[in-house]
Protein backbone atom coordinates (compact mmCIF):
# COMPACT_ATOMS: atom_id res chain seq x y z
CA UNK A 1 0.00 0.00 0.00
CA UNK A 2 2.78 2.41 0.84
CA UNK A 3 4.34 1.53 -2.52
CA UNK A 4 1.09 2.53 -4.20
CA UNK A 5 1.13 5.96 -2.61
CA UNK A 6 4.85 6.49 -3.03
CA UNK A 7 4.42 5.64 -6.71
CA UNK A 8 1.76 8.29 -7.06
CA UNK A 9 3.85 10.80 -5.17
CA UNK A 10 6.90 10.01 -7.28
CA UNK A 11 4.91 10.34 -10.47
CA UNK A 12 3.48 13.71 -9.47
CA UNK A 13 6.80 15.12 -8.31
CA UNK A 14 8.85 13.95 -11.31
CA UNK A 15 6.22 15.13 -13.75
CA UNK A 16 6.12 18.52 -12.06
CA UNK A 17 9.93 18.73 -12.28
CA UNK A 18 9.73 18.05 -15.97
CA UNK A 19 7.06 20.68 -16.42
CA UNK A 20 9.23 23.12 -14.52
CA UNK A 21 12.09 22.56 -16.93
CA UNK A 22 9.98 23.16 -20.02
CA UNK A 23 8.44 26.21 -18.38
CA UNK A 24 11.88 27.62 -17.66
CA UNK A 25 12.92 27.09 -21.24
CA UNK A 26 9.76 28.75 -22.49
CA UNK A 27 10.34 31.78 -20.31
CA UNK A 28 13.99 32.12 -21.32
CA UNK A 29 13.40 31.72 -25.00
CA UNK A 30 15.00 35.05 -25.86
CA UNK A 31 18.25 33.92 -24.28
CA UNK A 32 18.22 30.25 -25.25
CA UNK A 33 16.94 30.49 -28.79
CA UNK A 34 19.10 28.52 -31.20
CA UNK A 35 17.06 28.90 -34.37
CA UNK A 36 18.80 30.39 -37.35
CA UNK A 37 16.38 32.23 -39.62
CA UNK A 38 17.89 30.65 -42.66
CA UNK A 39 17.45 32.87 -45.69
CA UNK A 40 18.43 35.93 -43.66
CA UNK A 41 21.00 34.41 -41.34
CA UNK A 42 23.56 31.95 -42.52
CA UNK A 43 25.99 29.76 -40.76
CA UNK A 44 28.85 30.43 -40.13
CA UNK A 45 28.12 33.46 -38.08
CA UNK A 46 30.02 34.75 -35.07
CA UNK A 47 26.65 35.24 -33.31
CA UNK A 48 26.40 31.54 -32.75
CA UNK A 49 29.29 32.05 -30.35
CA UNK A 50 31.23 28.85 -30.44
CA UNK A 51 34.34 30.93 -30.78
CA UNK A 52 34.91 30.51 -34.48
CA UNK A 53 34.97 32.83 -37.37
CA UNK A 54 35.04 31.77 -40.98
CA UNK A 55 38.78 32.51 -41.05
CA UNK A 56 39.42 30.08 -38.23
CA UNK A 57 38.29 27.15 -40.30
CA UNK A 58 40.94 24.58 -40.94
CA UNK A 59 39.30 23.38 -44.06
CA UNK A 60 35.90 23.28 -45.62
CA UNK A 61 33.90 20.66 -47.40
CA UNK A 62 31.67 22.06 -50.05
CA UNK A 63 31.55 22.24 -53.81
CA UNK A 64 34.73 21.35 -55.65
CA UNK A 65 36.19 24.07 -57.79
CA UNK A 66 39.04 23.77 -60.28
CA UNK A 67 41.16 26.63 -61.58
CA UNK A 68 41.61 25.06 -64.96
CA UNK A 69 44.34 27.49 -66.01
CA UNK A 70 46.53 25.99 -63.30
CA UNK A 71 45.70 22.38 -64.04
CA UNK A 72 48.53 20.41 -65.57
CA UNK A 73 46.44 17.30 -66.15
CA UNK A 74 48.42 15.02 -63.87
CA UNK A 75 45.28 13.05 -63.00
CA UNK A 76 46.32 12.63 -59.37
CA UNK A 77 42.93 13.84 -58.22
CA UNK A 78 41.15 11.40 -60.49
CA UNK A 79 43.12 8.53 -59.01
CA UNK A 80 42.59 9.74 -55.45
CA UNK A 81 38.82 9.88 -55.77
CA UNK A 82 37.25 6.87 -54.03
CA UNK A 83 34.02 7.17 -56.02
CA UNK A 84 35.47 8.09 -59.41
CA UNK A 85 33.46 11.23 -59.82
CA UNK A 86 36.27 13.17 -61.52
CA UNK A 87 36.74 12.51 -65.22
CA UNK A 88 39.78 13.98 -66.99
CA UNK A 89 40.83 13.67 -70.60
CA UNK A 90 44.10 15.18 -71.72
CA UNK A 91 45.90 15.46 -75.00
CA UNK A 92 49.58 16.06 -75.44
CA UNK A 93 50.44 19.58 -76.32
CA UNK A 94 52.95 19.92 -79.14
CA UNK A 95 54.45 22.98 -77.57
CA UNK A 96 55.28 22.64 -73.89
CA UNK A 97 54.73 25.76 -71.85
CA UNK A 98 53.36 27.94 -74.63
CA UNK A 99 50.09 29.80 -74.67
CA UNK A 100 47.74 28.58 -77.31
CA UNK A 101 45.21 31.38 -77.72
CA UNK A 102 43.03 29.72 -80.32
CA UNK A 103 42.01 26.98 -77.88
CA UNK A 104 42.25 29.33 -74.89
CA UNK A 105 45.10 27.40 -73.30
CA UNK A 106 47.59 28.97 -70.92
CA UNK A 107 51.01 27.43 -71.08
CA UNK A 108 52.35 28.21 -67.63
CA UNK A 109 50.54 27.77 -64.32
CA UNK A 110 50.54 30.45 -61.64
CA UNK A 111 53.21 28.44 -59.85
CA UNK A 112 55.44 28.60 -62.92
CA UNK A 113 55.07 24.99 -64.05
CA UNK A 114 55.11 24.55 -67.79
CA UNK A 115 52.16 22.54 -68.97
CA UNK A 116 52.78 19.64 -71.30
CA UNK A 117 49.18 18.52 -71.56
CA UNK A 118 46.01 20.15 -72.75
CA UNK A 119 43.06 19.32 -70.54
CA UNK A 120 40.20 18.85 -72.94
CA UNK A 121 37.76 17.40 -70.44
CA UNK A 122 37.54 17.98 -66.70
CA UNK A 123 34.15 16.97 -65.34
CA UNK A 124 33.23 16.61 -61.70
CA UNK A 125 29.90 14.98 -61.00
CA UNK A 126 28.93 16.59 -57.71
CA UNK A 127 25.99 14.20 -57.33
CA UNK A 128 28.52 11.42 -56.89
CA UNK A 129 31.04 13.36 -54.84
CA UNK A 130 31.42 12.08 -51.28
CA UNK A 131 33.10 15.26 -49.99
CA UNK A 132 36.02 13.31 -48.58
CA UNK A 133 38.48 15.99 -49.67
CA UNK A 134 40.98 13.35 -50.80
CA UNK A 135 41.37 14.87 -54.27
CA UNK A 136 42.59 18.20 -52.99
CA UNK A 137 45.66 16.94 -51.13
CA UNK A 138 47.67 15.35 -53.95
CA UNK A 139 47.21 18.26 -56.37
CA UNK A 140 50.71 19.66 -57.07
CA UNK A 141 49.39 23.02 -58.29
CA UNK A 142 46.65 23.36 -55.64
CA UNK A 143 44.18 24.11 -58.36
CA UNK A 144 41.40 21.80 -57.12
CA UNK A 145 39.85 22.94 -53.86
CA UNK A 146 36.55 23.23 -52.08
CA UNK A 147 34.90 26.61 -52.19
CA UNK A 148 34.48 28.92 -49.22
CA UNK A 149 36.05 28.78 -45.77
CA UNK A 150 39.82 29.12 -45.94
CA UNK A 151 39.55 29.16 -49.72
CA UNK A 152 37.11 32.07 -49.85
CA UNK A 153 39.75 34.31 -51.40
CA UNK A 154 39.93 31.91 -54.33
CA UNK A 155 36.21 31.29 -54.65
CA UNK A 156 33.39 32.38 -52.33
CA UNK A 157 31.24 29.67 -50.84
CA UNK A 158 28.42 28.38 -52.98
CA UNK A 159 26.01 28.39 -50.05
CA UNK A 160 22.81 26.94 -51.47
CA UNK A 161 24.63 24.79 -53.98
CA UNK A 162 21.38 23.73 -55.58
CA UNK A 163 20.24 23.26 -59.14
CA UNK A 164 16.92 22.59 -60.78
CA UNK A 165 18.32 19.90 -63.03
CA UNK A 166 20.44 17.01 -61.91
CA UNK A 167 22.65 17.41 -64.96
CA UNK A 168 23.53 20.92 -63.85
CA UNK A 169 25.41 19.38 -60.93
CA UNK A 170 27.97 17.92 -63.32
CA UNK A 171 30.48 20.72 -63.36
CA UNK A 172 32.52 21.02 -66.53
CA UNK A 173 35.70 22.91 -65.81
CA UNK A 174 37.63 22.36 -69.02
CA UNK A 175 37.71 25.15 -71.54
CA UNK A 176 35.19 24.67 -74.28
CA UNK A 177 37.64 23.34 -76.83
CA UNK A 178 36.81 22.94 -80.45
CA UNK A 179 37.71 19.42 -81.47
CA UNK A 180 38.96 20.58 -84.85
CA UNK A 181 41.24 23.21 -83.43
CA UNK A 182 42.48 20.78 -80.81
CA UNK A 183 43.39 18.22 -83.41
CA UNK A 184 46.02 20.61 -84.77
CA UNK A 185 48.07 19.93 -81.68
CA UNK A 186 47.68 16.21 -81.87
CA UNK A 187 48.80 15.20 -85.34
CA UNK A 188 48.73 11.47 -84.88
CA UNK A 189 45.03 11.50 -84.13
CA UNK A 190 44.42 13.29 -87.41
CA UNK A 191 46.29 10.63 -89.30
CA UNK A 192 44.25 7.80 -87.86
CA UNK A 193 41.09 9.69 -88.67
CA UNK A 194 42.10 10.02 -92.25
Amino acid sequence: MSKYFSNIFEAVSTLLTGMGITWRHMMNIRKDNVTLQYPEERWPRPERDIGFDIDDYNVIRSRLQVDIDDCIGCMKCERACPVQCIKIVTTKSGAKGEDLPDINHTGVTSNGTKKALIVSRYDIDMTECCYCNLCTYPCPEECIYMTGGPNSHKHPIDYEFSQYDRNDLIYKFAKDVDEEKLSKYFPRKEETKA
Binding site: T17, I50, R61, S62, M146
Partner: protein, 372 residues
Protein backbone atom coordinates in the same frame (compact mmCIF):
# COMPACT_ATOMS: atom_id res chain seq x y z
CA UNK B 1 -15.43 -20.20 -20.59
CA UNK B 2 -12.62 -21.51 -22.71
CA UNK B 3 -9.66 -19.57 -23.96
CA UNK B 4 -10.30 -17.82 -27.24
CA UNK B 5 -7.78 -18.89 -29.84
CA UNK B 6 -7.47 -16.27 -32.50
CA UNK B 7 -5.16 -16.22 -35.44
CA UNK B 8 -1.98 -14.26 -35.16
CA UNK B 9 -1.80 -11.08 -37.17
CA UNK B 10 1.34 -10.41 -39.16
CA UNK B 11 2.34 -6.80 -39.17
CA UNK B 12 5.16 -5.17 -41.06
CA UNK B 13 6.84 -2.42 -39.12
CA UNK B 14 8.81 -0.56 -41.71
CA UNK B 15 10.76 -0.24 -43.95
CA UNK B 16 9.16 3.19 -43.79
CA UNK B 17 8.22 3.78 -40.20
CA UNK B 18 8.96 6.64 -37.84
CA UNK B 19 10.63 4.48 -35.21
CA UNK B 20 12.79 2.00 -37.07
CA UNK B 21 15.82 4.33 -37.08
CA UNK B 22 16.45 3.94 -40.78
CA UNK B 23 15.19 1.44 -43.26
CA UNK B 24 14.62 -1.64 -41.18
CA UNK B 25 11.67 -3.94 -41.54
CA UNK B 26 10.34 -5.84 -38.58
CA UNK B 27 8.03 -8.70 -39.38
CA UNK B 28 5.94 -8.95 -36.26
CA UNK B 29 3.43 -11.60 -35.37
CA UNK B 30 0.98 -10.19 -32.88
CA UNK B 31 -1.86 -11.47 -30.84
CA UNK B 32 -3.76 -8.25 -30.33
CA UNK B 33 -1.28 -6.00 -28.62
CA UNK B 34 0.97 -8.85 -27.49
CA UNK B 35 3.96 -9.72 -29.66
CA UNK B 36 4.70 -13.37 -30.21
CA UNK B 37 7.46 -13.17 -32.78
CA UNK B 38 9.74 -10.48 -34.16
CA UNK B 39 11.87 -11.04 -37.19
CA UNK B 40 14.10 -8.18 -38.29
CA UNK B 41 14.62 -8.06 -42.05
CA UNK B 42 17.66 -6.08 -43.09
CA UNK B 43 19.44 -5.23 -46.29
CA UNK B 44 17.55 -2.17 -47.45
CA UNK B 45 20.66 -0.05 -47.09
CA UNK B 46 23.23 -2.51 -48.40
CA UNK B 47 25.94 -0.73 -50.31
CA UNK B 48 28.57 -3.45 -50.72
CA UNK B 49 30.99 -1.78 -48.34
CA UNK B 50 33.29 -4.77 -48.04
CA UNK B 51 33.41 -5.44 -51.78
CA UNK B 52 34.04 -1.77 -52.46
CA UNK B 53 36.99 -1.87 -50.12
CA UNK B 54 38.58 -4.66 -52.15
CA UNK B 55 38.76 -2.26 -55.07
CA UNK B 56 40.04 0.96 -53.58
CA UNK B 57 43.33 1.77 -51.92
CA UNK B 58 43.76 1.84 -48.16
CA UNK B 59 43.32 5.58 -47.77
CA UNK B 60 40.25 5.56 -49.97
CA UNK B 61 38.55 3.08 -47.65
CA UNK B 62 38.29 5.74 -44.93
CA UNK B 63 35.44 7.71 -46.57
CA UNK B 64 33.59 4.42 -46.90
CA UNK B 65 34.00 3.63 -43.22
CA UNK B 66 32.43 7.03 -42.51
CA UNK B 67 29.29 5.88 -44.21
CA UNK B 68 28.88 2.71 -42.18
CA UNK B 69 28.09 4.14 -38.80
CA UNK B 70 27.32 7.64 -39.97
CA UNK B 71 26.36 8.77 -36.48
CA UNK B 72 29.85 8.14 -35.11
CA UNK B 73 32.08 8.44 -38.16
CA UNK B 74 35.11 9.52 -36.14
CA UNK B 75 35.08 6.26 -34.22
CA UNK B 76 34.84 4.29 -37.43
CA UNK B 77 37.80 6.13 -38.92
CA UNK B 78 39.64 5.61 -35.67
CA UNK B 79 39.11 1.87 -35.63
CA UNK B 80 40.19 1.49 -39.24
CA UNK B 81 43.26 3.68 -38.83
CA UNK B 82 44.36 1.81 -35.71
CA UNK B 83 43.94 -1.50 -37.50
CA UNK B 84 45.99 -0.55 -40.55
CA UNK B 85 48.64 1.08 -38.38
CA UNK B 86 49.05 -2.10 -36.42
CA UNK B 87 49.34 -4.05 -39.64
CA UNK B 88 51.99 -1.65 -40.94
CA UNK B 89 53.60 -1.19 -37.53
CA UNK B 90 53.41 2.59 -37.67
CA UNK B 91 53.98 4.52 -34.48
CA UNK B 92 51.89 7.67 -34.60
CA UNK B 93 52.96 10.88 -32.83
CA UNK B 94 51.66 11.56 -29.33
CA UNK B 95 49.72 14.62 -30.41
CA UNK B 96 47.85 12.62 -33.01
CA UNK B 97 46.81 10.09 -30.38
CA UNK B 98 45.47 12.83 -28.16
CA UNK B 99 43.60 14.51 -30.99
CA UNK B 100 42.11 11.18 -31.97
CA UNK B 101 40.91 10.50 -28.45
CA UNK B 102 39.39 13.98 -28.17
CA UNK B 103 37.45 13.73 -31.41
CA UNK B 104 36.45 10.13 -30.80
CA UNK B 105 35.06 10.94 -27.36
CA UNK B 106 33.29 14.05 -28.64
CA UNK B 107 31.78 11.93 -31.36
CA UNK B 108 30.77 9.37 -28.77
CA UNK B 109 28.91 12.10 -26.92
CA UNK B 110 27.26 13.21 -30.15
CA UNK B 111 26.27 9.67 -30.98
CA UNK B 112 24.83 9.01 -27.54
CA UNK B 113 22.95 12.31 -27.68
CA UNK B 114 21.31 11.18 -30.87
CA UNK B 115 20.59 7.75 -29.45
CA UNK B 116 19.05 9.11 -26.26
CA UNK B 117 17.14 11.86 -28.01
CA UNK B 118 15.69 9.49 -30.55
CA UNK B 119 14.88 7.15 -27.71
CA UNK B 120 12.88 9.89 -26.05
CA UNK B 121 11.07 10.30 -29.33
CA UNK B 122 10.30 6.58 -29.46
CA UNK B 123 8.74 6.84 -26.03
CA UNK B 124 6.81 9.91 -27.08
CA UNK B 125 8.73 12.78 -25.50
CA UNK B 126 9.52 15.31 -28.16
CA UNK B 127 11.24 18.11 -26.31
CA UNK B 128 14.27 16.18 -24.92
CA UNK B 129 15.01 15.10 -28.47
CA UNK B 130 15.28 18.71 -29.56
CA UNK B 131 17.44 19.65 -26.57
CA UNK B 132 19.83 16.82 -27.34
CA UNK B 133 20.00 17.72 -31.00
CA UNK B 134 20.76 21.29 -30.03
CA UNK B 135 23.79 20.11 -28.06
CA UNK B 136 24.84 17.60 -30.68
CA UNK B 137 24.82 20.47 -33.13
CA UNK B 138 27.50 22.21 -31.11
CA UNK B 139 29.76 19.16 -31.38
CA UNK B 140 29.16 19.05 -35.11
CA UNK B 141 30.03 22.73 -35.30
CA UNK B 142 33.32 21.96 -33.59
CA UNK B 143 34.03 19.19 -36.05
CA UNK B 144 33.14 21.46 -38.93
CA UNK B 145 35.81 23.93 -37.93
CA UNK B 146 38.20 21.04 -37.46
CA UNK B 147 37.83 19.17 -40.72
CA UNK B 148 35.17 20.97 -42.71
CA UNK B 149 32.64 18.18 -42.53
CA UNK B 150 29.75 17.87 -40.13
CA UNK B 151 28.92 14.20 -40.33
CA UNK B 152 31.26 12.19 -42.55
CA UNK B 153 34.66 13.39 -41.57
CA UNK B 154 37.44 11.39 -43.21
CA UNK B 155 39.52 13.00 -40.50
CA UNK B 156 41.53 10.24 -38.88
CA UNK B 157 43.99 8.92 -41.41
CA UNK B 158 46.34 6.00 -41.34
CA UNK B 159 49.35 7.36 -39.50
CA UNK B 160 47.86 10.67 -38.48
CA UNK B 161 44.96 13.03 -38.85
CA UNK B 162 44.11 15.15 -41.85
CA UNK B 163 44.51 18.50 -40.09
CA UNK B 164 45.98 19.86 -36.94
CA UNK B 165 43.59 21.48 -34.48
CA UNK B 166 42.56 24.98 -35.57
CA UNK B 167 43.55 27.85 -33.28
CA UNK B 168 41.18 28.19 -30.36
CA UNK B 169 39.79 24.70 -30.78
CA UNK B 170 40.88 23.54 -27.34
CA UNK B 171 39.21 26.51 -25.66
CA UNK B 172 36.08 25.90 -27.69
CA UNK B 173 35.99 22.27 -26.55
CA UNK B 174 36.49 23.34 -22.95
CA UNK B 175 33.65 25.82 -23.19
CA UNK B 176 31.48 23.17 -24.79
CA UNK B 177 32.22 20.72 -21.98
CA UNK B 178 31.47 23.37 -19.37
CA UNK B 179 28.20 24.09 -21.12
CA UNK B 180 27.36 20.45 -21.62
CA UNK B 181 27.91 18.94 -18.18
CA UNK B 182 24.98 20.71 -16.46
CA UNK B 183 22.79 19.79 -19.42
CA UNK B 184 23.16 16.10 -18.59
CA UNK B 185 21.51 16.82 -15.25
CA UNK B 186 18.72 18.60 -17.03
CA UNK B 187 18.11 15.64 -19.33
CA UNK B 188 18.04 13.40 -16.30
CA UNK B 189 15.42 15.55 -14.63
CA UNK B 190 13.36 15.98 -17.75
CA UNK B 191 13.42 12.45 -19.08
CA UNK B 192 15.46 9.89 -17.17
CA UNK B 193 13.71 10.20 -13.84
CA UNK B 194 10.34 10.96 -15.34
CA UNK B 195 7.89 8.47 -13.89
CA UNK B 196 6.18 7.81 -17.19
CA UNK B 197 9.53 7.19 -18.83
CA UNK B 198 10.52 4.79 -16.06
CA UNK B 199 7.21 2.99 -16.42
CA UNK B 200 7.76 2.61 -20.12
CA UNK B 201 11.39 1.45 -19.96
CA UNK B 202 12.04 -0.04 -16.52
CA UNK B 203 11.58 -3.83 -16.43
CA UNK B 204 10.87 -3.79 -20.15
CA UNK B 205 12.90 -5.82 -22.62
CA UNK B 206 15.15 -7.37 -20.04
CA UNK B 207 18.33 -8.78 -21.56
CA UNK B 208 20.00 -11.07 -19.03
CA UNK B 209 23.81 -11.09 -19.10
CA UNK B 210 23.93 -14.69 -20.40
CA UNK B 211 21.71 -13.81 -23.35
CA UNK B 212 23.73 -10.69 -24.09
CA UNK B 213 27.01 -12.60 -24.05
CA UNK B 214 25.74 -15.54 -26.06
CA UNK B 215 24.41 -13.26 -28.78
CA UNK B 216 27.66 -11.33 -28.89
CA UNK B 217 26.06 -8.06 -27.88
CA UNK B 218 28.65 -5.46 -26.99
CA UNK B 219 28.97 -1.85 -25.97
CA UNK B 220 26.41 -0.02 -23.86
CA UNK B 221 23.87 -2.79 -24.50
CA UNK B 222 26.16 -5.35 -22.88
CA UNK B 223 27.11 -3.00 -20.07
CA UNK B 224 23.42 -2.30 -19.51
CA UNK B 225 23.11 -5.99 -18.69
CA UNK B 226 25.66 -5.56 -15.95
CA UNK B 227 28.72 -7.01 -17.71
CA UNK B 228 31.73 -4.81 -17.18
CA UNK B 229 33.31 -5.02 -20.62
CA UNK B 230 34.79 -2.10 -22.48
CA UNK B 231 37.53 -2.47 -25.09
CA UNK B 232 38.94 0.86 -23.99
CA UNK B 233 39.68 -0.65 -20.57
CA UNK B 234 39.96 -4.38 -21.22
CA UNK B 235 42.07 -4.26 -24.35
CA UNK B 236 43.33 -0.68 -24.50
CA UNK B 237 44.16 0.65 -27.93
CA UNK B 238 45.65 4.03 -28.80
CA UNK B 239 46.32 5.81 -25.48
CA UNK B 240 43.19 4.88 -23.58
CA UNK B 241 45.29 3.25 -20.87
CA UNK B 242 46.52 6.71 -19.87
CA UNK B 243 43.14 8.03 -18.89
CA UNK B 244 41.19 7.56 -15.75
CA UNK B 245 37.56 6.73 -16.34
CA UNK B 246 34.90 4.36 -15.11
CA UNK B 247 32.86 1.85 -17.01
CA UNK B 248 29.22 2.38 -16.10
CA UNK B 249 27.19 -0.80 -15.86
CA UNK B 250 23.49 -1.32 -15.49
CA UNK B 251 22.43 -1.91 -11.91
CA UNK B 252 18.69 -2.37 -12.27
CA UNK B 253 18.03 0.90 -10.49
CA UNK B 254 14.52 1.21 -11.90
CA UNK B 255 13.70 -2.43 -12.41
CA UNK B 256 15.66 -5.48 -13.45
CA UNK B 257 19.29 -5.47 -14.53
CA UNK B 258 19.44 -5.30 -18.29
CA UNK B 259 16.16 -3.54 -18.94
CA UNK B 260 15.73 -0.71 -21.40
CA UNK B 261 16.18 1.91 -18.71
CA UNK B 262 19.57 0.46 -17.79
CA UNK B 263 20.75 0.54 -21.38
CA UNK B 264 19.52 4.11 -21.63
CA UNK B 265 21.14 5.14 -18.39
CA UNK B 266 24.47 3.52 -19.21
CA UNK B 267 24.66 5.79 -22.24
CA UNK B 268 23.76 8.79 -20.12
CA UNK B 269 26.57 8.03 -17.67
CA UNK B 270 28.96 7.20 -20.47
CA UNK B 271 28.57 10.72 -21.76
CA UNK B 272 29.83 11.96 -18.41
CA UNK B 273 32.77 9.57 -18.65
CA UNK B 274 33.51 10.82 -22.15
CA UNK B 275 33.53 14.36 -20.84
CA UNK B 276 36.02 13.21 -18.23
CA UNK B 277 38.30 11.57 -20.80
CA UNK B 278 38.09 14.60 -23.08
CA UNK B 279 39.08 16.92 -20.26
CA UNK B 280 42.10 14.78 -19.43
CA UNK B 281 43.12 14.60 -23.07
CA UNK B 282 42.76 18.34 -23.50
CA UNK B 283 44.95 18.88 -20.49
CA UNK B 284 47.67 16.51 -21.59
CA UNK B 285 47.83 17.31 -25.27
CA UNK B 286 51.45 17.81 -26.41
CA UNK B 287 52.65 19.82 -29.38
CA UNK B 288 53.96 18.24 -32.51
CA UNK B 289 53.45 17.63 -36.17
CA UNK B 290 50.36 15.63 -36.97
CA UNK B 291 51.52 14.70 -40.46
CA UNK B 292 54.87 13.36 -39.37
CA UNK B 293 54.05 9.68 -39.46
CA UNK B 294 51.82 9.69 -42.52
CA UNK B 295 53.16 6.97 -44.79
CA UNK B 296 54.03 8.02 -48.34
CA UNK B 297 52.33 4.98 -49.72
CA UNK B 298 50.12 2.68 -47.70
CA UNK B 299 51.32 -0.77 -48.71
CA UNK B 300 51.07 -3.08 -45.71
CA UNK B 301 53.10 -6.26 -45.66
CA UNK B 302 51.42 -9.56 -46.38
CA UNK B 303 49.36 -10.83 -43.52
CA UNK B 304 46.09 -10.31 -41.76
CA UNK B 305 44.91 -8.57 -38.65
CA UNK B 306 41.80 -8.42 -36.51
CA UNK B 307 41.61 -5.41 -34.25
CA UNK B 308 38.71 -4.26 -32.17
CA UNK B 309 37.90 -0.83 -30.89
CA UNK B 310 35.09 0.58 -28.84
CA UNK B 311 32.66 2.54 -30.95
CA UNK B 312 29.63 4.16 -29.27
CA UNK B 313 27.64 1.10 -30.32
CA UNK B 314 30.13 -1.41 -29.02
CA UNK B 315 32.83 -3.67 -30.25
CA UNK B 316 33.72 -2.39 -33.71
CA UNK B 317 36.34 -4.56 -35.35
CA UNK B 318 38.09 -4.66 -38.70
CA UNK B 319 39.61 -7.76 -40.20
CA UNK B 320 42.05 -6.91 -42.96
CA UNK B 321 43.88 -9.36 -45.18
CA UNK B 322 46.73 -7.80 -47.07
CA UNK B 323 48.50 -9.37 -50.02
CA UNK B 324 51.17 -6.71 -50.08
CA UNK B 325 49.45 -4.56 -52.68
CA UNK B 326 48.11 -1.04 -52.02
CA UNK B 327 44.58 -2.44 -52.14
CA UNK B 328 43.17 -4.58 -49.31
CA UNK B 329 42.68 -8.19 -50.35
CA UNK B 330 39.76 -8.57 -47.98
CA UNK B 331 38.23 -6.25 -45.45
CA UNK B 332 35.61 -7.39 -43.00
CA UNK B 333 33.88 -5.15 -40.54
CA UNK B 334 32.37 -6.52 -37.38
CA UNK B 335 29.36 -4.36 -36.78
CA UNK B 336 28.24 -3.95 -33.16
CA UNK B 337 24.76 -2.85 -34.20
CA UNK B 338 24.28 -6.03 -36.21
CA UNK B 339 24.69 -8.26 -33.19
CA UNK B 340 22.59 -5.90 -31.13
CA UNK B 341 19.76 -6.22 -33.62
CA UNK B 342 20.03 -10.01 -33.64
CA UNK B 343 19.01 -10.14 -30.00
CA UNK B 344 15.79 -8.19 -30.62
CA UNK B 345 13.72 -11.26 -31.46
CA UNK B 346 14.81 -12.93 -28.25
CA UNK B 347 14.15 -10.13 -25.82
CA UNK B 348 10.97 -8.64 -27.25
CA UNK B 349 8.82 -11.75 -27.13
CA UNK B 350 5.73 -11.40 -25.02
CA UNK B 351 5.93 -7.63 -24.78
CA UNK B 352 3.40 -5.29 -26.21
CA UNK B 353 3.30 -3.59 -29.55
CA UNK B 354 4.58 -0.29 -28.15
CA UNK B 355 7.36 -2.04 -26.25
CA UNK B 356 8.95 -3.55 -29.35
CA UNK B 357 9.80 -0.10 -30.63
CA UNK B 358 11.01 0.96 -27.21
CA UNK B 359 13.28 -2.11 -27.03
CA UNK B 360 14.49 -1.51 -30.57
CA UNK B 361 15.27 2.10 -29.68
CA UNK B 362 17.17 1.05 -26.57
CA UNK B 363 19.49 -1.12 -28.66
CA UNK B 364 20.57 2.02 -30.55
CA UNK B 365 21.10 0.49 -33.96
CA UNK B 366 22.36 2.31 -37.03
CA UNK B 367 21.18 0.69 -40.21
CA UNK B 368 24.09 2.04 -42.21
CA UNK B 369 26.34 -0.16 -40.15
CA UNK B 370 24.12 -3.22 -40.10
CA UNK B 371 23.61 -3.37 -43.84
CA UNK B 372 27.00 -1.88 -44.72
Amino acid sequence: MGVVHGDLMTLNIGPQHPSTHGVLRLKVKTDGEIISEVEPIIGYLHRCFEKHCENVSYEQVIPYTDRCDYIAAMNNNFGYAVTVEELMEIKVPERVEYIRVIVAELNRIASHLLALGAYGLDVGAFTPFLYMFRDRERILDLFETLCGARLLYNYIWVGGVSHDLPPGFIDAVYSFLDYFEPKIEEYNELLTYNKIFIERTGDVGVMPPEVAVSYGVTGPNLRGSGVKWDIRKNEPYSIYDKFDFDIPVGAGKMGTVGDCWDRYYVRMVEMKESVKITRQALKGIPTGDVHQALPKKIRPPQGSIYKRTESPRGDLAYYIVSDGSPIPYRLKMRSPAFTALSVLGEISQGWMMSDVLVILGSLDIVLGEIDR
